[in-house]
Symmetry: C2
DNA sequence: CAACTACATTGCACATTACGCAACGTTGGT
DNA sequence: ACCAACGTTGCGTAATGTGCAATGTAGTTG
């Protein structure tokens, strides 16, 4: 595998962590300064790194632009950001926002729970998430037009990660129907036995489900039942994000849960952690 | 300059735009498939690209993580996002958020004005902004401890971009004093003659100014005076962001302008576009 | 179901490319 | 004004990345 590219990547990494002088760069790679210089010059020409006034190299805007491009509709992310943080604060759990991008569902935002930074969840912004073994994945799948769903699942090889995994198309389809009926999805340790999630759909202005929000907890922190007690908050947040995107909720001549969300905007007021303005 | 690295960068770029098959990748580079494969494998090992189920390559989470790392306190960005969008909506002008990072001030967020996408402003997220020839730069400089300010300016070579540029340390210092007194800064075409800005400081929980928000317009859209009519909104937004960061405003036994901000949180209520929950 | 097409992947020999070296510039410090 | 530390340039060399041709793997069509 290409050596110079590896070196370039290494330098990009380092420069993202802290400013890098040329000699430092050469040292960490274990190469001559001239070599490091040429690599950095190449990266600089693409604005992947940038020279500071002091002559050190730091990560450049080129990379940042790319990442924004890849996260696609930054609109969704920006509209959602405040709501996601609010949901995290109120529930105490880790919050995710995932979106259908091309053929896959990727996390486009994540708000960590301060509680269990000890146990790192495997999720990361930009990473793809299982279509059929995650709450957000199942949520989005459930509301997709069926041809689209078939297309996405056609390449998937089902794998039984845990006992609860829906590891074949038939049981998954049954689950998706259930999700559509109740309006939200759970992940009962279906990918990692100790990870629980509850997810709710986010709709764009046309009413299409394009993303899903979820709250996540590990077994030792909360049971799935305990997580589900936050369902009104979760649904409220998902609906608020949908509204930011221009979606208008249907008339509440519907089930019980819908009533909740409409009352929720009050949560804005204050979280009561003693810090004003939050 | 390193050829293979150039090629790698090219592939990263393309893969960010749309999924790339191996043969496509080879074609755009004009190289053999095996060459393209090795490059992509190297990039994949660093999670700079990622293979989709369909076998195509798309931008990977590695890059996105880096960019988040480099933008540093994503906290600030996330806390600010909704406020910045609100400010853009209310003023109609392009909004920036810039932060002191290391020895430089970089844009960490930008909300474009829909009005004049025709004329592209030179600013980009992740890009450094002039310390002394920009409203955000001067704002942050003005409130920095003087040793810190000296350190930042020690490497700077002053350049007279336009007639209004503060192109030497003395006149800059006078300007900074004025900014401290009035609590906000302007950019009267000091870098590009046709670009006007007004900026206000953002403080963290200790009261330190760590960032600045600005509204920008080009000459043909609005004069500096017209821009300044938005000062209350701008100051309000900056203060709201500061509050999100845990800053508590000082008692309003102060000048005129301060009084405005304290009344402003009402703008939260609604932007008048008929969408509830904002 | 076999034959075909299109695509991804591996091994190998070659020469292009990126490398280290050493000399030269440049900056800042004592 | 000297020295030291760092960045930059030119050049010969060989290690590295490259193209080619052969092999493997789906997916498609008669």
């Amino acid at each position: 595998m290409s050596q110079s590219i590896r070196r370039a990547i290494d330098l990009i990494r380092r420069s993202a962590e802290h400013p890098l002088s040329l000699t430092e760069a050469a040292d960490v790679l274990g190469v001559h300064k001239s070599t490091a210089l040429r690599i950095l010059q190449t990266l600089e020409s693409a604005r992947f790194v940038r020279r500071t006034g002091a002559g050190t190299y730091v990560l450049g805007s080129g990379l940042i632009e790319l990442s924004e491009l890849a996260l696609g509709s930054m609109d969704l992310r920006q509209f959602a950001a405040a709501h996601l943080r609010g949901l995290q604060r109120e529930t105490g759990h880790t919050v995710h926002l995932a979106q259908l991008t091309g053929d896959e569902i990727i996390y486009i935002d994540k708000v960590d729970s301060p509680a269990f930074d000890a146990v790192k969840l495997p999720s990361r912004v930009g990473r793809a998430v299982s279509l059929y073994a995650s709450a957000v994945g199942k949520t989005i799948l459930a509301y997709l037009p069926s041809e689209e769903r078939d297309r996405l699942l056609s390449h998937v090889v089902f794998e039984r990660f845990t006992e609860t995994t829906f590891a074949d198309r038939d049981s998954l389809d049954a689950e998706l129907t259930r999700i559509r009926e109740q309006g939200w999805a759970t992940d009962n340790g279906e990918h990692d036995a100790y990870v629980m999630c509850v997810a709710a759909p986010v709709r764009d202005s046309r009413g299409q489900v394009i993303a899903a929000t979820s709250i996540t907890a590990i077994e030792v922190i909360a049971s799935l039942d305990q997580l589900m007690s936050n369902l009104p908050l979760l649904m409220g947040t998902a609906n608020q994000i949908s509204q930011e995107l221009g979606y208008t909720l249907p008339e509440p001549a519907e089930p019980l849960l819908v009533a909740h969300h409409l009352r929720l905007p009050e949560r804005r007021a204050d979280a009561g952690d003693g810090q004003p303005g939050r």
